[in-house]
Subunit: 122 residues, 2 copies
């Protein structure tokens, strides 16, 4: 009974994590003109920073600060990358792409807070 609660809680948490939300955003065509996968599904392209802040960040992350979004990308191990010319800002991650499963996403850990995670619930 306790285990079931823990699992439920973990699922609840992970669906609301930075990466899970990012995955939802990227696979929602609604935001295709703001942020999307590159053709190969290997990189993230931010087309419109202004609308990313006003629409996407406000809705999913409850803020509208582009710098905070980039900080989170870095904390989770994303790197700036080169997209197609005239495209927007491009980021990529070794283990985060269009084919990554939800389970795999939940296995990606933060860069500078590893300790806290290992002594935490998991």
């Amino acid at each position: 009974m306790i285990n079931r609660k823990v699992i439920k809680y973990q699922k609840y948490k992970t669906n609301r994590s930075f990466l899970s939300k990012l995955y939802v955003i990227l696979n929602d065509n609604t935001y295709n003109d703001i942020i999307h996968w590159n053709n190969e599904g290997s990189k993230i392209i931010i087309i419109n920073i202004t609308r990313l802040c006003d629409v996407v960040l406000r809705k999913f992350y409850k803020h509208n600060n582009y710098s905070s979004f980039v900080r989170q990308l870095n904390i989770y191990g994303f790197h700036r990358s080169q997209g197609i010319i005239k495209d927007g800002v491009c980021f990529e991650h070794e283990y985060f792409n269009k084919k990554t499963t939800k389970e795999q996403i939940n296995q990606i850990i933060m860069k500078d807070k590893k300790k806290k995670i290992f002594i935490g619930l998991f």
Copy 2:
């Protein structure tokens, strides 16, 4: 004769400095829907980051990286600030406002490169 050359060179340089360009941008109505002074002329409001990158940064700073722009603001001593609600990103500087003269702008020095400036031409 040498002095005149030096003065000419300094004028040439300062007109192309980060702050001088920023002052030009802020006082050009062309970019009013992208970046402008607040009503009091005391703070900088960035309305549209996307167009700031695509139009203003490309033209004046030969790049289109918002993070680089913010880095420069910090190096010159600007601080994030609060604008009117629903406004964009807001920055302010103790000595940089709408009434600042070109001469005063040229007296503002960089934060972490002070040494280099003091052993330089001036």
